[in-house]
Every structure is written in structure tokens, then in C-alpha cells.
């Protein structure tokens, strides 16, 4: 058998949410290209770019985005006979293959070499022992699990060393680059320090996880390393679960707005521009929808949708459910944006350039498309960016209530949900919760900071909670 051939034989699979993500990226690119051609947008972008905290946040968001994107490229392996083999995978699964393969039997603490719970097993002297068994993969390179501490310490040093090595380059290069471009050296120093911190963090994780060791050894398919964030109840690596959850969080944060924003713009502009009965109807519709408490509407709708989703291949039905969640959350969040746009268009309608266009006999559709829609886009962008973090947080709450994403889908909400029972154990199993916290916080904090910067740059007067 030719392993390389088997490795490369695959068929791409595009799930519904994948297709929408590609569409979203395309729409984003088109929007960006259009915006960059206009001076007032360029000014705003420059202002954001000058905000170091915002740009650092943006970089972190990009890292999350890259991980989510890799997890979006789905495919299915083909066997030697050309038939589909196994289940649908993503590129991220392949990159994180060591994490996927290194499953244990059950819980193990972060960086542990032995299992979390005691078990009776056959000892080296041939007798049954009741003790913490060695893990199959975590710390399996150690002769004696008691040496784990020393090994971890040496790995930390090594990781710190690698990270610092790369970080030093940044520390030197960034200020130099900023000098060369005539920018402030303080900006360069900030970037150097930030990138150095990031690379040290990444190197520590990689080193403890045993990723570097694969390169020289090459022969051992299982890399000797630790489970950096432990393993969960069925022995899956928690770090891997956290990484997989990134896509879920991002999909909910972005697709939700993508699905409904066109409608919000359309109806908001129509209501504001035409007034009269159009305005009345649209206002009535969104007031009615907004009158149902958000969380209750989402719960009710998910409960209903759940009934309708037919059981298919798990990943596909989970994907369908995820999309439904986006649609439903979108419907509830659509109203606020629609109201804002309507208000803005009401003001714009009376502004001279619109009146002039009207006087010149420009058609109404053209006024809408050329004069009104581009002038409310900044509100849309602000709302989309600010809404993002809230949606990510909402997902966790909904999944906890059993109305979020499919329980089989990796998500931070599901991780928290799972950890509820684990917290009651003694000793406490905290790493699932911890991982969910770290991953969520790492996404939501930059999202909030970046959102604030976008708002300040585009419309500092627009107050949002």
C-alpha cells in the first residue's frame, strides 16, 4: 500500500455552513475593495490601523479566523478502490492529527503522565495493582511518571528558549521596520513585544504538546508529549476540542449577521426612504419580533426546528442545526440594526445631496443604491463587529440550555455544559471549563477591543452597550 497515495486521495466536501463562510469571505473582500476606493473609508481604516491595541486584537482575531478557516475546508478520504473512507474531516484535523490520535481512556489532568482516576491493572511484576495507570500517550516517553515534573520544566525552558529566539527577532525587527518606514519607534516596540509574547506562548504550547519532537524522530507516529489541557471524559484531548470549537464560535458570530444583514439593510432603507404604509408595516414587523424576549424566541424556535431536523450523517445534521441557530439568532438580532438604519435614512433623506439627486430626476432605486445604502454601511459594519462578541457569548448560554448547537458538535458551550458535572467531582475536574474559558476569553476580549476601535473610527457618536 502506498501511504502517500492514500494520503492524497480525497474528495472535497462542502457543507452548507462552509459554502456560506466562503460567501461571507467573498462578500467581505468585495466590501473591503469597494470601501478602500473611497477616501472617507480609508481615513477610518487608517485610524483603526493607528490604534495599536485594536490591531493587536485584530491579529489575534486573524489567528482564530485562520484556525476556523482551516476547519472549514472539509474533505473525505478516498480508499484505494476510490470509495469514501471514514468520516468527513477538515484540514485542521489533519494538522492536529497528533491531538486527534492521542486519545486516552478517560480524564487526565493537564500535563499529567498518569490517569485521573485509579484503576486496577496488571503491574510489572504480574500482579494486579490498584493505582493511577500510565497514560497511553501523555508523557509516554518517560520511563517513570515521577520524572514528569522535571521533564515539564525542561520543556518549559526549551519552549521559552525557542519562543524567545523567534521573539528576539521580532523585538529587533519591528522597531527597525518602524524606523525605516518613518513611523514612531514606540509602535514598533509594542509590536515587537506583542509578537514576541505570542511566539513564546505558542512555542511553550507546542513544546509541551511534543510537536517539535516529531521532526527529528520521524519514525514514531505518536509524538511524545503531554496533553497540554488534559483530556475529557472519553479521553479526547481538550486542546483539540477547544481548537475545533473555534469554528463553531466564529460561524455563529459571523454567519448570523451575514444571513440577516441584507434584510436589515433592505427593510431599514425602504422604511426610512418611502415612509407611509411601507414604514408602518416594516416598523410593525420589527417591533413585533423585538417584543418577544430574545432568549425565549431563540429557545422556542430551536425547540421547533429540532423536531424537524431529520437524522442524517451526524456532521451534516449538526451542521444544519448550526445554520438554523444562526438564522434564528439572526432574526432576533435583525430588528435593532433595522431600526438604526431606518433612523439614519430618515435623516439622510432630507440632506441636500439626496434632495439634489431627487431634483435631477434620478430614479428612486438609484437614489437608494447609490446615495442611501453606502451612507448607512458604517452603521452596519459597527453593528456587525460589536455584535460578534455577544453572539459568541450567547452560544455558550444556549448550548448549556440544550438549545444551542448539536451536542455532538465541538463548542465552548458544550464544553461548559459538560464541565458542570465534572466540577462536582472530588478532586475537581477543572480543565474542560478552564479551556473553554481561555479560548472564549481569547476571542471575545479582542473582539470587544477591536469592535470599540471600529466604532470610534466610524461613528464615535453611536453609543452602544
Amino acid at each position: 500500500m502506498n501511504p502517500i497515495g492514500a494520503w492524497f486521495a480525497f474528495k472535497p466536501v462542502v457543507l452548507w455552513s462552509d459554502a456560506l463562510i466562503f460567501l461571507l469571505l467573498l462578500a467581505g473582500a468585495v466590501f473591503l475593495a469597494a470601501a478602500l476606493r473611497r477616501e472617507h473609508w480609508r481615513v477610518a481604516f487608517r485610524q483603526i490601523a493607528a490604534n495599536r491595541l485594536a490591531m493587536a486584537s485584530f491579529l489575534v482575531l486573524c489567528l482564530y479566523g485562520a484556525s476556523g478557516f482551516l476547519d472549514t475546508l472539509h474533505f473525505i478520504r478516498l480508499g484505494a478502490d476510490g470509495n469514501e473512507q471514514g468520516s468527513i474531516q477538515s484540514v485542521l484535523d489533519v494538522l492536529a492529527q497528533p491531538l486527534v490520535d492521542r486519545t486516552e481512556k478517560t480524564y487526565s489532568a493537564p500535563l499529567a503522565a498518569t490517569q485521573f482516576s485509579k484503576e486496577t491493572f496488571l503491574g510489572p511484576d504480574g500482579r494486579d495493582v490498584h493505582d493511577f495507570p500510565r497514560l497511553q500517550h501523555g508523557g509516554s516517553h518517560l520511563l517513570d511518571p515521577a520524572g514528569a515534573d522535571a521533564d515539564i520544566r525542561s520543556r518549559l525552558w526549551r519552549g521559552g528558549g525557542y519562543g524567545l529566539g523567534i521573539g528576539l527577532c521580532f523585538l529587533v525587527l519591528c522597531p527597525l521596520a518602524s524606523l525605516a518606514f518613518g513611523r514612531t519607534i514606540r509602535g514598533g516596540a509594542f509590536w515587537g513585544a506583542f509578537l514576541a509574547a505570542l511566539s513564546i506562548f505558542a512555542a511553550e504550547v507546542l513544546c509541551l504538546g511534543g510537536f517539535f519532537d516529531a521532526l527529528p524522530a520521524g519514525t514514531d507516529p505518536f509524538l511524545p508529549g503531554y496533553h497540554v489541557l488534559g483530556t475529557d471524559k472519553v479521553g479526547k484531548d481538550v486542546l483539540y476540542m477547544g481548537l475545533k470549537s473555534i469554528r463553531t464560535g466564529l460561524v455563529i458570530g459571523t454567519l448570523t449577521t451575514l444571513i440577516v444583514t441584507p434584510f436589515a439593510i433592505l427593510f431599514g432603507v425602504l422604511a426610512g426612504y418611502f415612509g407611509g404604509w411601507v414604514d408602518d408595516v416594516i416598523q410593525y414587523v420589527y417591533t413585533t419580533i423585538a417584543s418577544v424576549p430574545e432568549i425565549l424566541l431563540i429557545s422556542a424556535a430551536m425547540l421547533i426546528v429540532e423536531v424537524g431536523i431529520k437524522s442524517e450523517e451526524t456532521i451534516r445534521s449538526a451542521d444544519k442545526r448550526l445554520l438554523w441557530l444562526c438564522v434564528i439568532m439572526g432574526i432576533t438580532s435583525w430588528t435593532g440594526l433595522c431600526r438604526l438604519i431606518r433612523g439614519e435614512v430618515l435623516k439622510l433623506r432630507e440632506v441636500e445631496f439626496v434632495q439634489a439627486a431627487d431634483a435631477f430626476g434620478v430614479s428612486r432605486v438609484r437614489i437608494l443604491m447609490r446615495h442611501l445604502v453606502p451612507n448607512v454601511m458604517h452603521i452596519v459594519l459597527i453593528k456587525v463587529v460589536l455584535r460578534f462578541s455577544g453572539l459568541g457569548l450567547a452560544e455558550a448560554g444556549l448550548s448549556y440550555g440544550g438549545i444551542g448547537v448539536d451536542p455532538s458538535m465541538e463548542s465552548w458551550g458544550n464544553m461548559i455544559n459538560q464541565s458542570r458535572l465534572e466540577l462536582a467531582r472530588d478532586p475537581i475536574v477543572w480543565w474542560n471549563l478552564f479551556a473553554a474559558f481561555v479560548f472564549m476569553f481569547g476571542l471575545v476580549l479582542p473582539a470587544n477591543l477591536f469592535g470599540d476601535a471600529v466604532r470610534d473610527a466610524l461613528d464615535p457618536r453611536l453609543r452602544t452597550r
Binding site: 413585533t288 417584543s291 425565549l296 422556542a300 421547533i304 423536531v307 448549556y400 440544550g402
Partner: protein, 444 residues
């Protein structure tokens, strides 16, 4: 003023109706009651248990208009030949309804035949072929829910003379697909009940009068709501008041020191605080204060005076969880007020900064603050879903979450209706509160 209140309330009526119709569509059109019953009872449920489930919840009624068709009995075609004698209440209009046919193709070509005693002549409607011996037959449509041509039974014989029963039989060519044919009789019902004995009336109009019906475990939902409002309020009201006081106080201190490092760091801390999911506050608070420090019981609730120790932890968590976003929000409002002319005037006449802030700015800042606050007052009744669920407080929030997890459609629908009603009340209250704090707002 009264005219305004009345008008404002009248304006709320169409919205309330709209919400109700919307919820009805969501619950009964996206999925049929059949789907709901199957989701609730599982795949193994027999048609009889499904019917029973629907009848208990009056979901077997027609949606909007009840012509009075009453179900008398059913013939199930799964065997080679299916036949059944069904007792009839008397002469009148009858019809046959096809209910289930999973495999449309295989059900093709089936015929149904009805036969009545000689004393009760069948007057078949269009399409029903008259046979001999007072029998009629028709081809069975494959689609479920179709009405096989209606027929009438007339008769001169007095009841009791001959047993009034009808024999319904299905000629089955292929036994495979299960098909159920239901014989229905048209009752003469009064005009009001033609509208009240419908799903829409029973499950939507009645919601407007807070008649929520029964939950899946047979309790009256409204009774349960009344029982659970007190625990919910005992948590949400203290959270609301304490949080409001603390947040405004801190926000004013930050506004007082605006532009200093205190301000910058406070905002950063706020952003960090609001980036943490509420669930972590709950779990963290529970673990830190309840489990490790043992200051409070971890979860639970009690009546009367004993409830105090159970209330403190959720209130503390609830207040802390909301601090980040609220403080930041109030700070923006205060800063906006502080840059206005009347503040400059107040300073110019020599008032100390504290007096300017607390006496002048606070009053005017109350207007935007009120917008957010008054709307949220009605939600105090709905309770906090996550907080109550985590801390096992028997309030409205945990009621809702439990209902969602048990797939109790009736409760969820009731909570949605109640929640939107309260929201609309909140909107009206907001409008009225403006008139109290802002003399510039005039009621037209």
C-alpha cells in the same frame, strides 16, 4: 395624560396580537402537531398514543375553523384485508379521511368500501360509486390528510330498530404501507364553538387571557407560574436595585476622574469583565464562595426567612456579572452629559465638581439610563434563566430551561407569550416614565 396612556395601550394591542399569531405560526405551522407528538413520544409511539397525546392537548382539533367533524373510528390497513364495524350516532353527514401512508407508490390502487344496513340508505357524494346492497366504494387517495368523498346516511328507521353501524373495509393489494382511514361524523355544533374548538383558539387566543393550559406533567401552567414568581423576584429585584446603585456610583466616580489613569484602567477592566461569559461568573462564584470559602450554600432555595442565605449568592453573582458592560455604558452617558453647556455654567458659578456631577449631571443622565432600565423591569418576573438553572432556584427561569430540556411545548409557548406581554408593558412604562423625569417630553 389618561388619554395618552389609553392610546399607548391601544397601540400595544396589535403588537400583542402579532406576537401571538407569530408564536402560533412558529409552533403549529413549522411542524405539525403530529411531528411534535412524535418528537415527544419517540419513534416507537403507536398511532393510538399519538392521538391520545394530541387529544389531551386539544391538538387534534382543526387549526382555525371547526366544521364539527367528529372522529368515530379508524380502519388500519396493514394486513391483507382490513375491515371494521363502526357504530354510528345516527343519520347525517359522514366522511372518510386518509391519515397515514408512508409509501405513496405501494398504496396506489387501494379501494375503500363502506356498507350500511338496508334500513339506512347511503347517499354517496360525488365520486363515490354506488354498489349493490347499500354499499359504496371509492379509490383511496395516497396522500395523507385527503378527504375521501363525503357521503350522507339518511333513514326512516327509528333508532333501536336496527343497529346503526357501518362496515368500513379496505381492499388491500399490497400489505406493506400502513394506511389509516378515519370515519368522521359531522356534529351539529353551535357557531361559537366552530371557532373556539380549534387549535388557534385553544392554544393562542386563550394565551391572551393567560389561560395557558396544562403542562406535560398535568399541572396548570398558570398555577406554576404564580408559585415560581416569588423566588424569581426575590433574586432579580435585589440584583436590579443593588446593581443599579453600584453601577451608577462607580460610573460617576470614573467620570469624576475622567482622563486619568484611573479612568483608562477602569475601562480596560470593564472590557475584560464583559468579555467573560455570564456562565463563568456563575460557576466561578459558586465554586469560590460556595464550595471553597463555604460562605453560602452552593445551590437550592427555601421559603421565608431561610431564603436569605440562598439569595445572597445569586444576587452577588448577578450584580458582578453585569458590572462590566453597565459601568462602561453609564460612563459614556455621564461623559456625554459632562460636556454639555449647562455643566460649564454650573462650574462657572463656582459649584464644586462633586455637586456638579451628583446634582446636575446625574439628573439629566437619568433620561437615557431610564430607557434601558424600565424596559428591563418586566423581565424581573421572567427571572434569570442561567442563574436560576445553575443555582437550582425554583423560579421562572429554571422553569423555562427545564421545559426546554424536557421539550414541553406548552410551557415554552406560555413563557414566550408571557415574556412578550411583559416586554410590551415595559415599553409603555418607559414612555410614561419619560414624562416624569423629562419635562421637555410633552404628551400629544
Amino acid at each position: 395624560m389618561i388619554a395618552y396612556i389609553v392610546r399607548r395601550c391601544l397601540y400595544a394591542v396589535p403588537i400583542l396580537v402579532g406576537v401571538n399569531v407569530g408564536v402560533f405560526i412558529l409552533f403549529f405551522f413549522v411542524n405539525t402537531p403530529d411531528d411534535m407528538a412524535r418528537a415527544r413520544l419517540g419513534r416507537r409511539a403507536t398511532p393510538e398514543t399519538l392521538d391520545e397525546w394530541k387529544r389531551e392537548r386539544s391538538l387534534d382539533l382543526p387549526y382555525f375553523y371547526n366544521a364539527g367533524w367528529r372522529r368515530l373510528g379508524a380502519v388500519v390497513a396493514a394486513e391483507k384485508e382490513a375491515a371494521k364495524s363502526i357504530d354510528l350516532p345516527g343519520p347525517g353527514d359522514y366522511r372518510l379521511v386518509v391519515e397515514t401512508a408512508q409509501d405513496v407508490e405501494a398504496a396506489k390502487g387501494r379501494r375503500i368500501r363502506i356498507q350500511a344496513p338496508r334500513e339506512w340508505p347511503i347517499a354517496p357524494g360525488a365520486g363515490l360509486d354506488i354498489g349493490t346492497e347499500n354499499a359504496a366504494s371509492a379509490a383511496l387517495p395516497e396522500r395523507p390528510g385527503t378527504v375521501v368523498h363525503p357521503f350522507a346516511i339518511s333513514g326512516t328507521a327509528k333508532p333501536g330498530e336496527a343497529p346503526l353501524s357501518i362496515r368500513v373495509s379496505l381492499a388491500v393489494a399490497a400489505p406493506a404501507p400502513t394506511q389509516r382511514v378515519v370515519l368522521e361524523y359531522r356534529d351539529s355544533i353551535g357557531t361559537p364553538s366552530r371557532f373556539t374548538r380549534t387549535v388557534f383558539w385553544q392554544r393562542s387566543i386563550r394565551m391572551l387571557a393567560f389561560q395557558f393550559g396544562k403542562s406535560d406533567d398535568g399541572k396548570e401552567i398558570w398555577d406554576e407560574v404564580l408559585e415560581r414568581i416569588a423566588p424569581s423576584l426575590s433574586i432579580t429585584v435585589p440584583i436590579f436595585l443593588v446593581a443599579l446603585f453600584v453601577e451608577i456610583f462607580i460610573a460617576m466616580i470614573i467620570a469624576f476622574y475622567r482622563g486619568t489613569y484611573l479612568d483608562i484602567w477602569a475601562v480596560i477592566v470593564c472590557v475584560i469583565a464583559m468579555s467573560v461569559s455570564a456562565m463563568f461568573y456563575i460557576i466561578g462564584g459558586q465554586a469560590a464562595l460556595g464550595k471553597w470559602l463555604r460562605l453560602f450554600p452552593i445551590s437550592g432555595f427555601d421559603d421565608g426567612v431561610h431564603s436569605l442565605k440562598f439569595i445572597l449568592l445569586p444576587v452577588l453573582i448577578g450584580v458582578v456579572a453585569g458590572l462590566g458592560s453597565s459601568i462602561r455604558w453609564y460612563r459614556t452617558i455621564f461623559l456625554e452629559e459632562i460636556n454639555k453647556d449647562y455643566i460649564r455654567t454650573a462650574r462657572a458659578k463656582g459649584l464644586p465638581e462633586g455637586a456638579v456631577l451628583f446634582r446636575h449631571a446625574l439628573k439629566n443622565a437619568m433620561i437615557p439610563i431610564l430607557t434601558g432600565l424600565v424596559v428591563s423591569i418586566p423581565f424581573l418576573f421572567v427571572g434569570s434563566l442561567l442563574l436560576e438553572s445553575f443555582l437550582a432556584i425554583p423560579g421562572m427561569g429554571s422553569f423555562t430551561i427545564d421545559a426546554i430540556q424536557r421539550q414541553d411545548f406548552a410551557i415554552v409557548q406560555a413563557m414566550v407569550s408571557l415574556g412578550s406581554f411583559l416586554y410590551i408593558v415595559g415599553l409603555v412604562l418607559t414612555d410614561l416614565s419619560y414624562t416624569l423625569v423629562d419635562p421637555r417630553v410633552r404628551l400629544e
